[in-house]
């Protein structure tokens, strides 16, 4: 299979990768570019562990072909914030104990960021519906919903880039 040369823009940084066409964005992010914060949980769009922003919209990276992602802005949870400069959602999730094993958390925080950008003051029911594509086995989602609500009550969150 011939290789494609793609430029993928991730967290504001351009990367040149050479890969076959049948690589998903998830596999490109992890195996070619080492964005290990994007998790692989099911590879078929059922679990949301691989959630990234693509042009500001939350999507399953496992269902996007890497080749389709060229020319679009990809943001992972690390693009939202880091230990040195955490995003308010990352702080709230940490403060409220919203993460247990943590495996679903990067995807859930990305989805939460997309939610708040679209709907800055969601009801708890709306938060639940918006996070319905992000499965969690440890927490029952309770403290994640608390964290999103808490952040929504703080000053406006900046648009994810």
């Amino acid at each position: 299979m011939p290789k494609l040369e793609l430029t993928l823009r991730v967290n504001g940084q351009n990367h040149l990768v050479e890969l076959p066409a049948n690589i998903t964005l998830l596999d490109a992010l992890r195996d070619y570019l080492y964005y290990y914060e994007v998790k692989s949980g099911c590879e078929k769009g059922n679990c949301g562990a691989c959630t990234v922003l693509m042009d500001g919209e939350a999507v399953n990276a496992c269902l996007v072909l890497a080749a389709q992602a060229e020319g679009h802005d990809i943001v992972t949870v690390v693009g939202l914030g880091t230990q040195e400069e955490p995003h308010p959602l990352q702080e709230a999730y940490a403060d409220l104990g919203a993460a247990q094993c943590g495996f679903c958390i990067p995807g859930m925080i990305v989805a939460s960021a997309a939610l708040l950008a679209e709907k800055p003051q969601p009801s708890r029911a709306e938060i639940r519906q918006y996070l319905a594509g992000n499965l969690c086995r440890c927490t029952g989602y309770q403290k994640a919903i608390d964290a999103v609500e808490l952040v929504s009550q703080q000053k406006p969150v900046a648009e994810p880039s």
């Binding site: 299979m1 011939p2 494609l4 076959p20 066409a21 049948n22 690589i23 998903t24 590879e43 078929k44 769009g45 059922n46 949301g48 959630t51 693509m54 919209e57 939350a58 999507v59 399953n60 496992c62 269902l63 996007v64 072909l65 080749a67 389709q68 060229e70 020319g71 989805a111 639940r128 519906q129 918006y130 319905a132 594509g133 992000n134």
Partner: protein
């Protein structure tokens, strides 16, 4: 890993159609990929060439023209969900979009993709069937229009040939006294594949049924109209007894379900009856 294929990303619709013609039959168009990527991984789909539609944003539109609501095939379910035009002219379609998979999937899944994939449980199909939708198939050789009711041939099979693209779907804006709705039953409240789905459209004059459309999903090899049940209702006075009879007929004569991991055929028939009755009564109550 996904099966191996060549990837093309045409800049325009014309380029796309040219490529599809050239690469047919071993060609698969990909928009949101929410079905195709799964099939590429499972080996169910093994095209030689995959053609990207995502960048053809000209094909993502919702507009009112000539008394019709025209939806470009590349329109995502999220766009459908957020459209006030759709809500005003085709409530059933909005309701279906609200319950469609998960928000993550909705951001990528397209109207064209959902219909062309032709799962018997495709949630956008029943609403579009009761809205008398027509599908526009485009290829390098030309354009043809097919009523959605004639589009599905069997599970995952449609009249679309490999060189054709589902470019648009459109439905006539219903008359003012028409109401539509969509109901679905799944194994959980969110992100569920339909066990049974029902769409209904009802145009009334007082309590007389002027025109009715019923469509069932996930209870037959294809999403399709419940014609026997419609015949019970057409032109009749809409008594509760009549609605119940129509629902019974829908379940016993229009539905033809199978047993699968989500539910038995028998349960599906029972639920088809329940959902048809509920859909009809909600439309009558809504307009009242």
């Amino acid at each position: 890993m996904l099966s191996e294929f060549e990837f093309q990303s045409p800049a325009t619709l014309d380029d796309c159609l040219e490529l599809m013609q050239f690469q047919a039959p071993g060609v698969a168009p990909i928009a949101g990929g929410t079905n195709l990527v799964v099939d590429l991984r499972s080996g169910r789909a093994k095209p030689q060439t995959v053609i990207n539609l995502w960048q053809l944003s000209d094909l993502a539109y919702i507009r009112r023209e000539n008394g019709h609501l025209a939806i470009g095939g590349r329109t995502t379910v999220t766009q459908l969900l957020n459209s006030s035009l759709v809500r005003k002219t085709g409530q059933a379609l909005t309701e279906s979009a609200q319950k469609f998979a998960s928000p993550l999937i909705r951001n990528r899944a397209t109207v064209g993709g959902n219909l062309a994939d032709a799962s018997p449980a495709a949630d956008l199909a029943p609403p579009l069937l009761v809205l008398d939708a027509q599908v526009q198939l485009q290829s390098k050789s030309g354009t043809r229009t097919v009523p959605l009711a004639e589009f599905f041939l069997g599970p995952r099979q449609t009249v679309r040939t490999p060189a054709e693209l589902l470019a648009e779907i459109r439905y006539p804006v219903p008359a003012a006294n028409t109401a539509t709705t969509f109901l679905k039953l799944g194994q959980r409240w969110e992100d569920a594949i339909s066990i049974v789905s029902v769409a209904a459209s009802l145009e009334r004059d007082g309590d007389i049924c002027q025109s009715v459309r019923l469509a069932l999903g996930a209870v037959a090899p294809i999403p399709r109209r419940a014609k026997q049940a419609e015949a019970v209702l057409a032109g009749q006075k809409l008594t509760d007894e009549l609605l119940r009879r129509a629902a019974q007929v829908a379940a016993s004569e229009d539905a033809n379900p199978i047993d699968d991991v989500r539910g038995s055929a028998e349960y599906r028939r029972w639920m088809a009856e329940v959902l048809v009755y509920r859909a009809l009564t909600s439309l009558i109550e809504e307009e009242a």
